[in-house]
Point group: D2
Chain length 99, copies 4
Amino acid sequence: MPIMEISIIPVGGETPSFSQAVKEACQVAQNQGLKYQVNAMSTVVEGNLDQLMSVASNIHRTSLQNGNNRVITHITIDDRQDQEMDMETQAAKINGDLS
Amino acid sequence: MPIMEISIIPVGGETPSFSQAVKEACQVAQNQGLKYQVNAMSTVVEGNLDQLMSVASNIHRTSLQNGNNRVITHITIDDRQDQEMDMETQAAKINGDLS
Amino acid sequence: MPIMEISIIPVGGETPSFSQAVKEACQVAQNQGLKYQVNAMSTVVEGNLDQLMSVASNIHRTSLQNGNNRVITHITIDDRQDQEMDMETQAAKINGDLS
Amino acid sequence: MPIMEISIIPVGGETPSFSQAVKEACQVAQNQGLKYQVNAMSTVVEGNLDQLMSVASNIHRTSLQNGNNRVITHITIDDRQDQEMDMETQAAKINGDLS
């Protein structure tokens, strides 16, 4: 299953803070029933390709609808056909060996 | 109109070169009738949000179908509601002042 | 304090897996005494700007020295002057409200 | 020679426009004598790894010094050991076949 990382940056708001936009993005993922994890720099989401592209599109659109004049959305999709992938296993592969 | 930057990296192929994957990506954009520009690091595409997400999804899927075991696709969408945007104008705003 | 997200992709290796390259990257951050967190898509690191650029450069260089013919390194730096930032607080701001 | 793509987003300014920040970034690259190309979504720069990391650091720092409370800088470095690379050749490999 592909894994997506998404980060959304509203530009031109009065404040440098955009945690509200990130919370709204997580709400969109929650509403679409997708599993996600938030870290300091982005949100990681699991789903098939159609689900991921749909949630990314809705996250981007929601931020514009919520009054942001300009929104820059960064999306990275990691997709593997030779092996199953999920968020926990990917991180555990690294953390497991380093602890 | 939003502008998208997309780059696609096939991982695990025999060669470090992936210009073939980039050509296939441009072909997908061409087939969908979208305007695009190629630079050394990515491809910039113009379209509405639905068109951009559709072409990004098809570019990603095509690369997997063409035999790449793992594909990492980076997508950035810049979308502005207070002003029209297009590829030429955005670059010209910068280049015009610096020449 | 700025926060950095870094992901490193070796291209042209025999296998689609690159968890070894990510472990080596974490080792570089550990050797430089910097705090980091690994998630499924990237590694988040804390430090001042010089420390972050130095560790990013060393991570990139190490991957080339370890036999990868081509390496693509993605770096994002989030830097705020009006408020202190750290990895835990940034994630907690979001997770706290959504649980 | 590695190639870098850099984009800089000031967050929290009064206006959604940040072409001024991009011009300042290009000025930094010019002052350091590096070859660069501007496209609608980013600036592509040529140089060795130390030159690229130095110019990226200075671009980021300059934007903070010019009064932006928060700056998010995205850097991608593509580095190949089996073959020489430069901006023109990379783009021509793709464009040449598609025209």
